[in-house]
């Protein structure tokens, strides 16, 4: 059984607002489109490095893109 991550993200909303396709963003941060889809759907937690790359691709902070609920 796959343990669900508590980390949520708003990559899809931010990406669509920026008029960027999944392929565009994936190319920009150097991952496959399938990996980006998995991240957007919460099926894969990106590494810290990739999380920074994603936030920089949109020019926003990590907190604007990712959310971790307080205990």
């Amino acid at each position: 059984m796959v343990k669900p991550t508590k980390v949520t993200n708003s990559i899809r909303a931010v990406r669509e607002a920026a008029g960027m396709t999944q392929a565009d963003l994936a190319r920009r941060v150097g991952v496959t489109r399938q990996t980006l889809i998995a991240i957007e759907q919460g099926r894969y937690s990106p590494t810290l490095e990739l999380a920074f790359q994603l936030s920089r691709a949109f020019g926003v902070g990590l907190d604007d893109l990712f959310d971790y609920p307080e205990e």
């Binding site: 991550t5 392929a23 496959t32 990996t35 759907q41 099926r43 894969y44 590494t47």
Partner: protein, 144 residues
């Protein structure tokens, strides 16, 4: 489907087929008699050799066909592929350890070489199959 996932599927398909073929041939050769009388060495070597070649050929052919539809994705892998590969290795390794311990026990009891070699063979086969299944699940259901 990404490049690494295709390779895992190819390895998984070939491992399952190879293991089934090996078991069927050994049982046929035994023809109801003791398994230890079977000349298992050439069968095992042929199955291992054919499995390696089969997995490579299947990956290449599948890659060529996939490349026709998605030229950008050919040969590309990323951090998620590496994370899934690590997880798959960890999962599969348990079976190698169990097989290794089994081999030590069989040697201690001076079991027939057939059982020693086949315990190790099935350790490798199970390691590959279970690791492959774990990878495919991670690709499809997620790795978080």
């Amino acid at each position: 489907m990404v490049y690494e996932e295709r390779n895992i599927w190819a390895g998984l398909i070939v491992s399952v087929i190879g293991t089934i073929v090996y078991v069927v041939i050994v049982l046929q050769q035994a023809a109801g008699g003791p398994l230890t009388d079977v000349d298992w060495v050439p069968i095992m070597l042929w199955v291992i050799g054919a499995s390696i070649v089969g997995a490579i050929v299947l990956s290449i052919v599948w890659g060529i066909l996939a490349g026709m539809f998605d030229p950008d994705g050919v040969g590309k892998s990323d951090q998620r592929d590496r994370d899934i590969a690590h997880m798959s290795t960890r999962v599969g390794q348990a079976f190698l350890v169990i097989a290794g311990l089994g081999v030590i026990v069989l040697c201690a009891f001076e079991a027939d070489w057939f059982w020693i070699a086949n315990t190790m063979y099935f350790g490798f086969a199970l390691s590959s199959i279970v690791g492959g299944v774990a990878s495919v699940i991670a690709y499809r259901r997620g790795l978080v």
